[in-house]
Amino acid sequence: MRNTGRRRLELTRVASLGFTALAALVFLGMLVLFGVESLPVWRHLGLGYVTGTRWFFRVHEFGILPMVYGTLAVSAVALLVAVPLGVGTAFFTAEVLPRRARRTVKAAVELLAGVPSVIYGLLGVLLLRDFVVKLLAHWDPLSGDTLLTGGLLLAVMIVPTVMTLADDALSGVPADHRMAARALGLTRAETALQVAARQALPGLVSAALLGLGRALGETIAVFLVIGRQDNQWPERLLSVQPLANAGQTLTTKLGGSETFIAYGDPLHWGAIMGLGLVLFVVVTAVSLAGASLVTWGGDRA
């Protein structure tokens, strides 16, 4: 809609573009804020900050690797559980269920997505912890507060996201492709896997990435069940034992009491803000990757 009228000052336009600029500034400003506030730690510790494995703030020793490990471990567990579960469910709703049943199941799953994270945390505390203790009995956990608990809880939280996005991707494949494949004599599974899934692949990967983005950024629920133990660096990276211990992720550290304490001390504060910066960059990268896959796949069609 062009304004072919007089070149008067259009108040709505000014306000609208102003608000947009304001919103953009706020979000960009956040990135800058974290960058600037974390400068002390980059100057003081440099790369040692990113590669260090010990965090003792009283002696100004700041290494973020244990928290990076915690974040990755918890997210990996979440993805390993949620992606097969979510994509499998999406296959069921998009390829097997008739239309009406599909809408009901999708609506039910979307309800799950609306549950606040603190309530998931509560459920984790009251229900999941005991279950995990029994599950991990062989590895002798100290309590139910472990990395595995955090990962499983996250899995439950991101299943709705993964499932609805995967279902959207699969349902976007035109029906006549399915019909042509079935008319050739392909079974339902072959049609689903080799026709629908192949064409919907960018959307499925995007679903997993966006689920990962959510998992990486989740604080409150994980906070309540992870034990929040610093300096947990595993002896062997790819074994189950570290999952049976309490741990710390980037987000749980940020959400903890140290953030309040650190404000007065520039280096300590810089270290905390450095965590925020790392988290910010990683989550944004993952989410943008996931989003771009969907539009790119859409353009191809």
């Binding site: 492709h177 399915r178 042509a180 079935r182 004599g185």
Partner: protein, 270 residues
């Protein structure tokens, strides 16, 4: 002849014994009747034309013949369809194998992403477990039968989406022919094509007739005259599709027995 064990018996049918027959076929959707008691005889090496106005249920009827109607759970099918005397709705029937013996071409060509050769092999490599060494030969044979070989033989690996609509429709035909079906169901195959491509497909049908039984759904009277041996005319009575007349082409068109058909014929351009 087919190179795989078929369900039921393979017979060398004498002309006159139907390869496929529909008996009192009725279709309802959620309780509302769409088609009422349709009888059809599809004979080997003959073309049966199915004519009728839109909404009469021609596509629905066709989809019952290879049980593609199963994919729509709201549809209920009553009556029977028999392939060489054996009901295709019997519980012991392997539906996927059935569909390799009864091939279908749709109104809009459906081309899968991938190469031309990939499209041709799409069905047969999975349903017949064709070994790799047989692929090239099968592709050539199917494309020749679909009269597309000469146009694409130098670019088999190119994306099939680059073909024109007429070529894509022949590609779909080649894909179906690669499975070596006995019967071909063609659902208005030329309605999205131009005049020249339409003629090409019609000539193709006349050639294919030598080795297949063909059912051709069309709304074009002239096409039926040119191609079909016998016709079944569907019409709508009391909002339900019904078989109004059937028989050999010349008999039905030159001496229509029902007023609806006479009216329909009189409105067609000569």
């Amino acid at each position: 002849m087919l190179d795989v064990e078929p369900q039921g018996e393979t017979l060398d049918c004498e002309a006159g014994e139907p390869a496929l027959a529909a008996e009192k076929l009725s279709v309802s959707i959620r309780g509302r009747l769409l088609l009422r008691a349709v009888d059809l005889r599809i004979e080997p090496r003959r073309v049966l034309g199915i004519l009728g106005p839109s909404g009469a249920g021609k596509t629905t009827l066709l989809r019952c013949l290879n049980r593609l109607s199963d994919l729509v759970p709201e549809l209920t099918v009553a009556g029977d369809v028999r392939l060489h005397g054996k009901s295709i709705y019997d519980r012991t029937v392997d539906v996927d194998a059935l569909r390799t013996r009864i091939g279908m071409i749709f109104q809009q060509p459906v081309v899968f992403p991938g190469s031309i050769a990939g499209n041709v092999l799409f069905g047969v490599r999975r349903t017949r477990r064709l070994p790799r060494r047989a692929w090239a030969e099968r592709v050539e044979r199917a494309l020749r039968e679909a009269a597309l070989w000469n146009e694409v033989k130098d670019r088999l690996r190119e994306p099939a989406a680059r073909l024109s609509v007429g070529q894509q429709q022949r590609l779909c035909l080649a894909r179906v022919l690669a499975c070596e079906p006995e019967i071909l169901l063609l659902d208005e195959p030329t309605s999205s094509l131009d005049e020249r491509s339409t003629r090409e497909i019609e000539e193709l049908i006349l050639r294919l007739r030598e080795r297949h039984a063909i059912v051709l759904v069309t709304h074009n009277l002239q096409q039926a005259r040119r191609v079909a041996f016998s016709v079944a005319c569907l019409g709508v009575r009391d909002h339900v599709g019904e078989l109004i007349e059937s028989g050999r082409c010349c008999d039905v068109f030159d001496q229509p027995r029902t007023p609806e058909l006479a009216h329909f014929l009189s409105r067609e351009p000569r």
